[in-house]
């Protein structure tokens, strides 16, 4: 299996550099709205009251629901990446409804559907992340380690994992 994006929310600092580099790489323009990766910072009612940053992007699902609903056949799987053919896309937004993670978006500034296609095999967000929260590597089942800064030492790691569980649950309920 080829490389995948791995996101470690515990390491995310919430600087949103990934959003801008993604948009710059793919749209030749820095705009958070044009980004295929988005950071949500939970700031209230979190476990222990501490903020929590959650970067989300397309998981390139093996059995992708968006593929099945597209009436124009604009979404196609090519090896491990789900590609969107903008020539075919009519903007009907069925894929947005079908996506279980809410990571396919209609962008109002660019008037089109945006979704992550892994920047043709070299995702720009990986290099820009200052804390190593976004990795691009072949899947392994060991716990991934931070690329550069090691925040774990200074962070209540357990509390953060608990916070994540609760937040993910609340996000699902919404």
């Amino acid at each position: 299996m080829s490389s995948q994006l791995k996101i470690i929310p515990e390491l995310c600092i919430g600087c949103r550099s990934c959003e801008l580099i993604c948009s710059l790489e793919n749209e030749d323009l820095m705009a958070a709205s044009g980004s295929r990766i988005n950071v949500i910072s939970f700031i209230e009612s979190t476990a222990l009251g501490m903020p929590y940053h959650l970067p989300v992007t397309c998981y390139q699902c093996a059995d992708a629901p968006c593929l099945k609903v597209c009436p124009e056949d604009a979404l196609k799987r090519n090896k491990d990446v789900v590609h969107l053919d903008l020539e075919k896309c009519t903007g009907c937004r069925q894929c947005i409804k079908a996506c279980p993670f809410g990571v396919i978006r209609w962008d109002d500034n660019f008037k089109k559907i945006v979704k992550c296609e892994l920047c043709n095999g070299a995702p720009a967000c990986v290099d820009i992340c200052p804390s190593g929260a976004i990795l691009f590597e072949a899947p392994n089942f060991e716990k991934p380690e931070s690329k550069s800064l090691d925040f774990k030492k200074s962070r209540p790691f357990y509390a953060r994992e608990k916070a994540f569980e609760i937040q993910a649950y609340q996000a699902l309920k919404k």
């Binding site: 600092i13 919430g14 600087c15 949103r16 820095m30 949500i40 700031i43 501490m50």
Partner: protein
């Protein structure tokens, strides 16, 4: 200058909000202005000089409140969420320039504007909502006298980001701003304070409680330069990460500075009556102890931060156990800790949150309270003079009670709410001997700057109510031609100020986080790539010099004289102990000040000469035209 400017970096648009008439309109910013002043503080002082009438009352409807961003704001440049607030300061009566980081600046830019100009005064209390399509004023009655954090929470919930943050930023004032406390701050993104010069009081005087911005639109950059822009940004990141702060700040914060500063005698203790702390207190102010033992922390970075300076912390021990707030900085530790005789870092963290919530400037609060504490100790003021509050060294409850009174201007708080310099006048007695302020009328940053010459001098002659240049005490800067540390307060001090001032003010025009700074060369290269301009290092320093001179001309227009380039009695006293014992700026100050005027091309009263103004293209013809 080539024709292409500006190919990027600007929307060339400002939003003018007239609160008296309720009219909101978008205006074009002339390219000529952007070329000459770049943005941020430069754009701000241009707008202030040209659009606020001479002699306008700082807290009256004629004063304007200007939020200005720079060409980098909102882009990938490290720390580019910064914005500059400018207005006529209610503290000094001269120009105020305050900056805050976070996301507010970036989102203002993403909503499609380079600057906001708020003028007039609303009849009822309102807040302003802006996104890329709309700008509306809404009633803020439900937020009256609410703290800055609660205001953020409630407005966020109203605008569809309940409990989380994705594209909304809020800049607001707390009760201090609403009640026009002269050192009130503007708080953005929950705890990032634009504090200097009392900008929050001006916002309060306009009955504007908050500005809510929803922005995730495009940040203009020169088209087709994707790879160049990426290259410059990665270079900048490397440089800033290799700098002294870049290597340590994610771990130590600025708290790592406390011990070295203390060893040099730069930490104010009990209103500068000494600068030496007892060993046991010093051990509690150690960064390792605070970061590991006192609280646990999680990162809450600003826009495009590259090394996580800011964290949210939860106090683990002591009387404030369980308090959740912002990580404290060196200046807070010194200001609310050593300067007030408080030694528990957890309590200082709590006070930091408390004062941010009221919305006040830390440096003014610190020296105001410490002055009263010293006055109490010396019998200059009694318990009854402070409405029954027994303000002794280290009394946290008394401090909180008094600050709450100040923020509401109740009882004695009404007098104290005018800041250190005015309080000295109001209380009389010996207070002029113990008050810490520069003669323009604002408190300096929280250092014992009596022997930290660079920091002291740059604030004495500052035209911004804060530091105008950079302190090069103890380190040089080859790029600016500063080769030796300023060990003594001699003529060299003036030279250092002349060289660092333009660079610092140029940086303030670009508007990015000071901590993420890189070399001037890298800054100029990035500016050229993003805007398609062809600036050189010299032309950029000239812009900085132009900004200083325009600030100076504005202040002179509003009545500044060379007597204002001075400092209070306490700041001239020699420290009674510590490494700086016996030293003082007093003996050489007049000479240094004259040397500085001369080097800046000003006359011997500190007024820019006609030649200097002409050299900097400050002929005022274009300014007169706009007015």
């Amino acid at each position: 200058m080539n024709e292409a400017f500006p190919a990027g970096g600007y929307h060339k648009k400002l939003l003018r909000i007239n609160l008296t008439t309720g009219m909101i309109q978008s205006e074009e910013i002339p390219v000529e202005v952007l070329k000459s002043y770049i943005g941020g503080t430069g754009l701000g002082i241009y707008l202030l000089y040209s659009q606020v009438p001479t002699g306008a009352l700082p807290l009256g409807p004629e004063n304007n409140l200007i939020f200005a961003t720079g060409p980098f704001t909102g882009s990938l440049v490290p720390g580019s969420g910064t914005y500059s607030v400018m207005c006529k300061s209610p503290l000094t009566g001269y120009a105020a320039s305050a900056q805050a980081n976070g996301f507010f600046g970036a989102r203002l830019k993403a909503a499609g504007f380079d600057a906001l100009v708020v003028q007039g005064c609303s009849e009822e209390k309102v807040y302003l909502y802006i996104d890329s399509n709309t700008a509306v004023l809404k009633s803020s009655e439900f937020l009256n006298n609410k703290g800055a954090f609660e205001t953020d929470k409630k407005l966020r919930a109203r605008h569809n980001e309940k409990g989380y943050e994705q594209k909304i930023s809020i800049a607001c004032i707390g009760p201090a701003g609403e009640n026009q406390v002269r050192f009130a701050a503007i708080s953005s993104d929950r705890g990032h304070m634009a504090a200097s010069g009392g900008v929050g009081a001006v916002m309060g005087s306009k009955n504007l409680k908050a500005i809510v911005i929803s922005g995730d639109g495009p940040i203009p950059t020169a088209p087709g330069k994707k790879n160049e822009i990426k290259k410059e940004i990665f270079r900048w990141r490397e440089e800033s990460n290799a700098s002294g702060l870049g290597k340590t700040v994610h771990e130590k914060g600025t708290l790592g500075l406390f011990k070295p500063y203390h060893d040099k005698g730069w930490v104010p203790v009990k209103n500068m009556t000494t600068n030496q702390l007892p060993e046991d207190t010093l051990a509690k102010f150690d960064w390792e102890y605070i970061q590991n033992e006192v609280y646990e922390k999680v990162p809450r970075a600003c826009h495009t931060c590259t090394f996580t300076h800011c964290h949210t912390v939860r106090v683990k021990k002591g009387p404030s156990k369980g308090f959740i707030g912002e990580e404290i900085e060196y200046e807070i530790l010194a200001g609310y800790g050593s300067n007030w005789g408080i030694s528990d870092p957890g309590t200082i963290t709590m006070l930091n949150g408390f004062i941010d919530d009221l919305g006040m400037d830390a440096k003014e609060v610190s020296f105001l309270i410490s002055m009263l504490m010293e006055g109490r100790q010396k019998g200059l003021i009694g318990k009854d003079d402070l409405d029954g509050i027994d303000l002794t060294w280290g009394d946290v409850d008394a401090v909180k009670q008094l600050l709450e009174k100040i923020s509401l201007r109740k009882g004695m708080g009404d007098v104290l709410a005018d800041g250190v310099a005015r309080t000295v006048k109001a209380l009389g007695k010996e207070f002029d001997k113990i008050g810490v302020y520069v003669k323009q009328g604002n408190a300096p940053h929280v250092h014992d700057s009596r022997t930290r010459w660079g920091t002291l001098f740059t604030q004495i002659i500052s035209n911004t109510t804060s530091q105008e240049g950079m302190d090069m005490t103890g380190r040089g800067n080859p790029e600016l031609g500063i080769t030796k540390p300023t060990a003594d307060p001699d003529r060299y001090l003036a030279e250092v100020q002349t060289k660092t001032g333009p660079k610092r003010q140029f940086e303030e025009c670009l508007a990015f986080c000071y901590f993420q700074a890189c070399s001037l060369k890298q800054m100029v290269q990035t500016l050229n790539v993003i805007t398609g301009a062809d600036f050189s290092a010299e032309s950029c320093l000239k812009i900085g010099e132009r900004v200083i001179n325009l600030l100076r001309m504005y202040n002179i227009r509003e009545g500044l004289s060379m007597e204002d380039d001075s400092y209070s009695h306490r700041l001239g006293q020699s420290p009674t102990d510590g490494p700086g014992k016996g030293k003082s700026l007093n003996s050489t100050f007049n000479e240094v000040r004259q040397a500085y005027y001369e080097m800046m091309g000003w006359d011997n009263r500190g007024v820019p000469t006609a030649e200097t103004l002409e050299r900097l293209n400050l002929t005022f013809s274009h300014i007169e035209k706009v007015r």
